[in-house]
């Protein structure tokens, strides 16, 4: 019994990481209505950036956040202003193809620079530390940190959306782009800021991923799929739903893995497909005020 409780608890905590993958995707889709196919590769690029800082300057992985987050945010802003804003006017094909091309380019550039070997960032002691909850039930300290970060990120984003002028322009642009423009909102700037924010969260997710598991240049696409599944399971437009979606994925993966190591990822994909059939609009559609 305690074993199964632990499995489910691990799955829930893993959901925190998946939610972090997903928040950036949800944000850009919600505001710009585009799916960034290179989203997963951006997560891996952030992980490599942190890895490089850790290896070269012996920096603590957590300290690397202070550099990687702003760098990624600036990259996101530039990418949106230069490439993606041009793509937005072309229906769904153009943004999909541009980000798909970007995904292939990033994977191969990472391969050239860092080779195909898988990498990891180790934090001494943290990877094995756990909190005992009694009765043989325990939860890892690191997964708990990830989960708390995910909750904090969502909480802060909700505040930004609800209380700040920036959040108001995000919501206005999301609801009706042309009316927002009439009201004096520069939508290209709003989009670029949304992408910067998305990339900042991607950076966080990438570093957390890099501290948890090994990664290689081809690891991006599967991260995109988890992110996408969490968003759809949770219901478009709902950040807390995205967290729930991440947890559904995490728990089904943990249970599947426990039954047979080959079934982990398969179970989370199957859970996603079952939910898509039963509740095509997700578990919590449009919970966020908009």
């Amino acid at each position: 019994m305690a074993e199964w409780t632990n499995t489910i608890l691990q799955g829930l905590m893993l959901g925190g990481l998946y939610a972090m993958f997903a928040i950036g995707l949800s944000l850009t889709f919600g505001i710009m209505r585009i799916v960034n196919v290179a989203h997963g590769d951006m997560i891996i690029v952030s992980a490599y950036m942190a890895f490089w800082l850790v290896e070269t300057f012996h920096m603590d992985p957590f300290a690397s956040l202070l550099i990687v987050i702003p760098v990624m945010a600036i990259l996101g802003y530039i990418l949106q202003r230069t490439m993606l804003s041009r793509a937005l006017s072309g229906g769904i094909l153009v943004p999909l193809m541009v980000t798909y091309g970007l995904s292939v380019i990033l994977q191969n550039v990472l391969m050239e620079v860092f080779s195909a070997n898988s990498r990891a960032m180790r934090v001494e002691g943290l990877d094995t530390a756990s909190l005992s909850l009694g009765g043989g039930i325990a939860v890892g300290v690191y997964p708990l940190i990830v989960m708390c970060t995910a909750i904090a990120v969502i909480f802060i984003l909700q505040l930004v959306f609800a209380k700040t002028p920036l959040g108001r322009s995000f919501r206005a642009t999301s609801d009706d782009q042309s009316t927002a423009q009439l009201m004096g909102i520069d939508n290209r700037k709003v989009y670029a800021l949304a992408m910067a924010l998305s990339f900042a969260i991607v950076a966080l997710a990438g570093i957390y991923l890099g501290m948890r598991t090994t990664f290689d240049p081809a690891a991006g696409p599967s991260r995109l799929l988890y992110a996408f599944e969490a968003v759809v399971i949770g219901g478009l437009g709902s950040l807390w739903g995205t967290l729930a979606g991440g947890m559904v994925l995490g728990v089904s993966q943990a249970i599947g893995f426990r039954l047979d190591p080959g079934w982990g990822v398969l179970s989370s994909h199957l859970a996603f497909l079952v939910i898509l059939v039963l509740r095509p609009r997700g578990l919590f559609p449009r919970m966020r005020d908009r």
Partner: protein
């Protein structure tokens, strides 16, 4: 006001709807001549050239299948590798488990892929637009993992199908692969051309341009999209079986590889989405670039990715679309043009 309504005024400027052009008659002849030349290749070409032509033709068939979805139906899938993989494993089933002839299995593999496309469509068509695209990818991953967990199909490491060719001469194997590739590559191009000139093709293009508008004009949007999706899966399944006849070893990672879709996408985008000629031009370009950059490893894919991004942003009609507009060329016209009376030759 009155003169517009007068029939006499209209009659003086008679018009008719024209589909073929001078170039299109040339296109038809060239296509038939090329098909004949390729079919006879086993008697005059050497092995390396034939293997290259085989790959070129099946990749062209894949590109046309993606072009059918994106260019004519407005449905963008990044999960067509699902049907390539299903075709490959159907080949394993029919040859290794049932003892059938590998080349007969190609058609059966297409049918299996089409049959599995029906439940797949039921799931993925719940998603719209960009979400549909990523959804198809999830389904492809699910198929890959299901196969990789099946010890009966060789687990994650895959299996060899060499023994299916026991007693077959290499010449016959290469020649049959070539003929099947001609049927798939040329066949998909010709079939697409004929279908697009039909009522069904008109319905597809209407859906691509506006779903609500075509629905209001009586186009059965859902049914049309399903037929197109299943047809595309049929083509991809046949290609999957043929591709692995030439490779002789099937594994989940290679059969369900995203690279299949990347190839289709880049060829169609670079060549020109929504034309019959585009994928042919794109495929020539793709193989040309691969030959040029053969020694530079991942630089090839970086270049291809950059080109695709630049072309999609700067020349959304692709290389062929640009040339066609510039020189008013259409070898395989699928649109209808109105020619005024005095222009008619």
């Amino acid at each position: 006001m009155n003169s517009i309504l007068q029939p006499a005024a209209a009659a003086s400027r008679s018009y008719r709807v024209v589909r073929s052009t001078g170039a299109s008659r040339v296109g038809g002849v060239v296509l038939l001549a090329a098909t004949a030349a390729l079919l006879s290749a086993p008697w005059w070409a050497d092995r390396a050239d034939m293997r290259f032509a085989t790959e070129f033709l099946y990749v062209l068939a894949l590109a046309q299948m993606w072009n059918l979805l994106a260019g004519f139906g407005g449905v963008i899938s990044i999960g067509q590798q699902a049907f390539v993989g299903i075709g490959a494993y159907a080949l394993v089933f029919f040859t290794m488990k049932m003892g059938l002839d590998p080349f007969a299995s190609v058609a059966l593999a297409g049918i299996v892929a089409a049959a599995l496309a029906i439940p797949t469509a039921a799931i993925v068509f719940r998603l719209q637009g960009a979400y549909f695209a990523v959804g198809t990818w999830v389904v492809a991953e699910t198929f890959r993992l299901l196969v990789a967990n099946s010890s009966w199909l060789g687990d994650g490491s895959g299996l060899s199908i060499t023994s299916a060719f026991r007693g077959m001469t290499p010449w016959w194997r290469d020649a049959s692969s070539m003929w099947v590739a001609v049927v798939l590559g040329m066949g998909s191009t010709i079939a697409l051309y004929l279908v697009l000139r039909s009522r069904f093709g008109l319905a597809l293009k209407a859906i691509r341009d506006s779903e609500p508008a075509s629905e209001s004009l009586g186009v059965k949007v859902t049914a049309t999209k399903w037929v197109m999706y299943v047809a595309s899966a049929l083509g991809c399944g046949c290609v999957g079986a043929l591709a692995f006849i030439t490779k002789l070893r099937v594994s989940p990672d290679s059969a369900f590889s995203l690279d299949w879709t990347t190839t289709m996408l880049f060829i169609v985008i670079i060549g020109g989405v929504g034309t019959i000629e585009g994928p042919i031009v794109g495929a020539v370009f793709y193989f040309g670039l691969r030959w040029l950059l053969a020694d530079y490893g991942s630089l090839y894919l970086i270049t291809l990715g950059l080109l695709a991004v630049i072309i999609v942003l700067r020349l959304p009609q692709g290389l062929w679309g640009y040339l066609a507009a510039r020189f008013n060329l259409t070898f395989f016209p699928v649109q209808r043009r109105v020619v005024m009376g005095d222009e008619v030759k």
